[in-house]
Symmetry: C2
Subunit: 348 residues, 2 copies
Amino acid sequence: MTEPSSAAHRPTLEAVADRAGVSRATVSRVVNGGAGVRSSLAEKVLRAVDELGYVPNQAARSLVTRRHDAVAVVIAEPETRVFTDPFFAQQLRGISKELTAHDSQLVLLLVEGRGDYARVGRYLAGGHVDGALVFSVHLDDELPDIVRRSALPTVFGGRPDGGAPHTPYVDCDNRGGAREAVRHLRSLGRERIAHIAGPLDQTSAMDRLDGYRDVLPDAEPELIARGDFTPAGGERAMRELLDRCPDVDGVFAANDLTAAGALRVLGEAGRRVPEDVAVVGFDDMEPVAEQTSPPLTTVRQDIEEMGRLMARLLLRGLERGGALAGDPLDTAPSSVITPTALVRRASA
Amino acid sequence: MTEPSSAAHRPTLEAVADRAGVSRATVSRVVNGGAGVRSSLAEKVLRAVDELGYVPNQAARSLVTRRHDAVAVVIAEPETRVFTDPFFAQQLRGISKELTAHDSQLVLLLVEGRGDYARVGRYLAGGHVDGALVFSVHLDDELPDIVRRSALPTVFGGRPDGGAPHTPYVDCDNRGGAREAVRHLRSLGRERIAHIAGPLDQTSAMDRLDGYRDVLPDAEPELIARGDFTPAGGERAMRELLDRCPDVDGVFAANDLTAAGALRVLGEAGRRVPEDVAVVGFDDMEPVAEQTSPPLTTVRQDIEEMGRLMARLLLRGLERGGALAGDPLDTAPSSVITPTALVRRASA
């Protein structure tokens, strides 16, 4: 192991000055932007920097500049979920592309569970990143409070509930998209349309349920089953629905993974899709929606683009914080709601 | 947006001292461990800390303590690959469990490509983490050099090639496992056994090819096709093999994803598995190996456990670096090679 003591072998500013034959002050000026240093001298220094593999003491430097060129991403889910739900991979892809384009390092802070949030808070407050992108927050999560205490510029993915009124967020039109899904089922002549809801401690799931109720205000409570955005949750909920309402002829599932689980149970129960039961999902998740049997009619949201927008909003805020602080109008927070669109495939 | 300027709203040490009715020096002593402070005073301070949501200026503090309670993970692959190859999710699961058990934050540094390594190097050298876990390194990667220059304690996942002779690593017995796979195919009476190799710029792929050659030193070169550890690479290689050696009756694929691709092509070509062609993979990857058709005989390595071992080795090194520095024997690096085992399913 390169032991901690080997930090002593890291090339120093003095070593660079020796090698370049210049003063320490000159090296320092070059390393910090080169203002006021003749270009011939600066070149000598940069050559010595390359030859020695010198890295400035960023910890000390970032205390002065207060810039780390890094952004933390915190997902309020255990790491196992982060790596099994493709939603997160797609959102991270958008974030990664946008941050990379601005040479900012994506720092993904993984947790096993809520017991780890205090540690995440210490890292966020510890002067390691310029800002934070936070998503998949639940109603009773302490995370928004912890993030706020870190005093870092923050953008949420998904509308946070009440707790963080002045923090900008990026979300899709969950309620409008849900309305479109249910209207589509009704336009196919379906009369017993059920909803498999997502986890109702998340605003995306609440909004999609509200959209269902907007179109079917008189739907009986037994037509609404609770899922959890996973295929297993969709299976459980579909079994309940078939049990309670055997005459169900339409299902709006809160996301595509839920719909995939529901389709499996319908198949096992001998119900033909869409002839007996038409099914609509939400997300248009790659590759899920195209690989279900039959392929899934669903409400598309551009998840990768939402990730890109989150990163862009944060980076813009960081720039303004530097250049335009003091102009309250121009630095005012603004959230972004992206549109949704129904994608018709075989399932409805 | 919580603008950068709002850092001014972060509760200060002074505010805590005011609220607790003690001196700043007392607050500072309590926050930094409480040595020499009466417990009644310490309690007052901690109550004020809680009430105000005070977070010490960790950036300044970590410059003094040189501890961040955080470990960076760098995977030498684009983030898209990190989120599509379950190998990485499983290794990260082991790392996450072990780091969490020691209250150390897992900091995953994602990249789009090699162009981002310089930025990763700046983050590693920037005083943000106590050590680094690095995996999936390729022969011509600059990453090991960049990591070494950061002077951080480091453990590699997978044996690094030459470039980092004194850095400990965790790997499985790639060559021995490969030998077992090929011997198994031979024990089934197979006489034309092909190998679909992994990317030969990685030691794991090289070692598995060497294991194949150990058992079949006289295998004709056309029996060896090159894959890249992905299903698509396995498909391409299997098509080449069927073209070049139509009498092939056994395939040792360098990993399970490669085998999954090969099985698809064999199915399309009308070859029965295992009757016409027996196939063995490497990894015993969940859920891949059990879901192929037919289920895959493969060489098991405990990927999650390897992640745990990497983290344990690093944390042990960090402790020793603190407590036992100066005792060269006790701090000497040591790598770990984990055993492999053949798991027999229907494909061979």
